[in-house]
Symmetry: C2
Subunit: 109 residues, 2 copies
DNA sequence: GGCACCTGTCATATTTTTCTTACACGTGGT
DNA sequence: ACCACGTGTAAGAAAAATATGACAGGTGCC
């Protein structure tokens, strides 16, 4: 992950440039968790958390997968991706070379 | 700059999480420049550039100072600060510990 | 059947961010 | 005086992000 495209870097930075989302990532560092529980822990509504998680996943910072618990409930667990991005003026200059004029946050992969 | 407070990190990330602002920083890497010239180079209006530069400066990523040219014109030159922020899940977890509930972008130094 | 828990998404309102237009000021040169 | 160039900032429109509530589905248990 040392090398990232401009679009990818922008996606990462704008995903991380938000208080709530920083907290979400931080909350997953000790270990994985499932959506409803996170919503309670972080005191935010589940639909909103869902939105934030989507954005973070699209940036490749977290990853979620559905799992069936013993009592048959479908639960979506999220965990942090072990990313490492070095933020320097030079890295930015390099990334900007491959930056699309318009970055849409949709449907990628 | 290896150690940053949560608020500072959030300010940096949200300042950098924008296409235009990434381009602005990148444009200053080769060397300093003054506002009106940058606006022409980057094809954005001067007031808007002014706004972006303020935001970047508040995050400590660029620095500007007024200078008087030979023909007496007051020109504001900007240059990049040689920052280096390492973005990892652990760094974020640490930063979040010192994150205010509400970060205002005003008046800080 | 009720209830509890889990998941997802839609429609909507609210708040921020982004950007433009228009104005203020200053200098020096024609 | 006027024009060209530089600075700053305030007001308002336009676009995007943020957040809520209501609804859909699923399972198992009393």
């Amino acid at each position: 992950m040392a090398e990232v495209t401009g679009d990818q870097m922008l996606r990462i930075l704008s995903a991380l440039g938000s208080g709530p989302r920083l907290r979400i990532v931080a909350s997953l560092v000790p270990g994985r968790n499932y959506v409803s529980q996170m919503a309670r822990d972080l005191q935010i509504s589940r639909p909103l958390l869902h939105l934030h998680l989507q954005r973070l996943e699209k940036a490749g910072l977290v990853q979620g997968h559905l799992e069936l618990s013993d009592d048959g409930k479908a639960m979506k667990f999220y965990e942090v991706t072990p990313f490492a991005v070095s933020l320097t003026p030079q890295a930015i200059a390099k990334a900007v070379e491959t930056l699309s004029s318009d970055v849409e946050r949709g449907e990628g992969e």
